[in-house]
Amino acid sequence: MSAHDCGSCSINAELARMGVSLDKVDRVVALAGNPNTGKSTLFNALTGLKQHTGNWPGKTVTRAEGAFAFDNVRYKLVDLPGTYSLLSASHDEEIARDFLLFGHPDATIVVVDATAIERNLNLVLQVLEITSRVVVAVNLMDEAKRKNIEVDVRSLSRDLGVPAVGITARTGDGIHGLLEAVAGVSSGAVHTAPLRIKGTPEFQRAISELVPLIESLAPGVPNARWIAIRLLDGDAEVEQALTSGRLVDLVASQQETAQRFSAKISLQGTQ
C-alpha cells in the first residue's frame, strides 16, 4: 500500500487555502510531530495562515487551527504542540495526546525530520498505538539531501503500515502527494495496518481482559487498548483520569469538540 494507489483521488485536485474559515468543515486533520520539524511551516503552507514559525523547539505552545480544501473536501487542520513522546505528563504533551485520543481526527499527519528519522520514529510509533489513521510526512527532504542522507519513504511506509510521503514544506514540494494520502486515509479509502507492539502472550492476555472493562466504564471511548496499556504501565495520570471521571467527560465532550475549537482559539494560538 502506498500513497499513490488512492483510486478516488483526482489527479487535478487543487489545494485551496481557507485560512480561519472553520465552519462547515468535512474532516478534521491533526498535525503532530517532534519539536522543530516544520509543523507550523506545513500548517502555513496548507492553510495560508501566518502562524509564527521559528527555528527553535517549542515555538508552538498552543493549539492552532486553520482550514484548507482539497479535491472539494474541506479540512480543518489542528497544529498540535511539538512533542518527543506522548508518555510523560508535560502540558504540551497532554494537549497533543488528549486531542489525538478524544478530538476524533479523521487523519493525523505526523511530521518527521528527514535528517533524524530514528529519533522521530519514537513519536510515530506512539501515535500509531493511539490511532490507525496516520500519514507520515517526511519533511526537510531538501536538508537531508544537502546532508547526503537518502530517505526511502516506501520502506518507511511498508514498515509502519501507513502512508509515508516525502515533502519540503518550505518550498511546497510533495504537498500534493501528502494531501492525496490524507484524503485517502481520512475518507477510509486507504486502509492502514499500523505497526503495534505485540508484546508477550501475558501482555496480550492482560490487554484483552482490560479493554472490555474500560469500554464498559467509559462507553464510546475511542482507544481502550491504549488506555489499557497505560494502566498496565501504572500511568498515574491515566489512573487519575479514570477515577475522577475526567475520561468520561472527555469522551462525552468529543461530539462537541468540532464546535468548541473556534476560530477565535486559533487566532489566540498565533502569538
Partner: protein
Amino acid sequence: MSSANASAVLQRAAALRATLSGQFRDETVKSIYAEAERIAGRASHHIGTARYDFDQRIDRIVTSPIFGLPIMALLLAVVFWLTVAGANVPSAMLASGFFWFEDQAAAVFTNLGAPWWVTGFIWHGVFRGLAWVVSVMLPPMMIFFPLFTMLEDLGYLPRVAFNLDFLFRRAGAHGKQALTMAMGFGCNAAGIISTRVIDSPRERLVAILTNNFVPCNGRFPTLILLATIFVGPLVPSAVASFAAAGTVVGVVLIGVVVTLAVSWVLSRTVLKGQASAFTLELPPYRRPGILRILYTSIIDRTLFVLWRAVLTAAPAGAVIWLLANITVGDLSLARHIADALDPLGHAIGLDGVILLAYIIAIPANEIVVPTLLMVYLGTGMMTDDVSLDEIKRLLVTEHGWTLLTAVNLMLFSLLHNPCATTIITMYKETLSLKWTVVGTLLPLGLAFLVTFIVASIW
C-alpha cells in the same frame, strides 16, 4: 460512572501488571526504541562520505565555554547599535512631520471658530499622544524586530539557552527559562505564554515571575532614548552611538543578572526545589526566509505592538491634556499630582512627573517617555524643534535632570511593574491571584529599592 467501578478496573489492572515481567515499562520503551532503530536503519542511509558538518563547527564556537557568552553579548550589542544608530534620524523626521501637521490642523480648527478646548483636546491631546508614540517607537521597532526575528529564524535562540543553561540551573531554575526570557525581549506577555514549554510547575512559576526583568520592546525605546541623550554625549561624538548601544546592552545584562538572582532567591525560599534536567535540541542552522522575517517582524510584532500603543496612547494623551489644562487654584491638576509625588520621586532619584507618567502608562509601558514629555510640555508652548537636543534641553535645563535621573529611570524602567497586558496574562497562565500580585509587586518593590540605593550612594 461510579468511582467504585473505576477502582475495580484499576485493581484488576494492578493484578494483571503483577503477571507481567517486572521490567514491563522498560521493555515497552525499549521495544519502541528498537523498532525505531530497525525501521530507520532500513529507510535512511548516508550516501557517500558523511558531509563535513558545518553546523557542528559553528556550534563548537558559539556554544563554547569561553566564547559563547562574549559572542552573545557582542551580537546583542550589534543589534542595539544598529537600532540606536539607525532610528534617530527617521524618529526626528517623523516627529517634525507630525508636529507640523498638528500645528496646521490646530490652526484650521481655530480659523473655523472651534472652541480652544476642542482644538486642544483633539490636536494637542489625543493627536499629540499618538504622534509621540509613533515617532518614538516605530523606527527602532522596524530595525530591532527584523534583526531579532532573523536570529530566531537562523536557529540562534536555542544556542542562547544552551549557553545560559548552567547559570539558570545554578539559580535553581529551568534551562528553558533562557528561551522564555529571550521571548520576553519581544513582549513580556508573549514571554509568559511561552513558559508553557517548561514542564515543572515550580520552575514555570519562577520563569513567569521573573520574565518582567528583561526589557520588552515597549521599554527599549525608553532605554535607547535615554542612553542616546545622556550617555552618548559623555564620549566623543564619533563613538557616541557605540556608547549608547553599550549602555543598553549593560541594562539588558543587569536585567539578566536580576532574573538569575531573583530566580535563585525564589528557588530557595517560597518556591523551593531542584532544577530538573531536560534535553534541548540544537536545530540545524537554517537560512532565514527574508519575506517571512519581514512578515513576522512587521505585521506580527511591530504593528501588533504599535497598535496596542496607539490604543493606549490616544486615551493617555486625552488624560494628560485634561490633567494639564484643568486648574485647581493656580496650578494644573497634573502639577498638583506631580508635586504630591515629588518627595517620593526625589527619594529614588526621579521626580513626581516621572512617577505620574508611570501611573498614566500602566496600560502600556511604551508610552512612558511620550507621557512624561507631554506632562513637562503640557502647560508650556510646544517649540517647533523636536530634535533630541531639544528634548535634552527641556529635561536638563528646565526640569533639572542629571545623569542620575537618566540612570535611575533606566533602572526603574527595567525593573518596575509589568504592564496591564502582562499582568492579565500572568493571571491567565497561573490562574492564581496570589502569584499575579506577587509578580506585580515584587518587580515594583525591587525597582524602588534599587533606585533608592543608587540615589543614596550617588
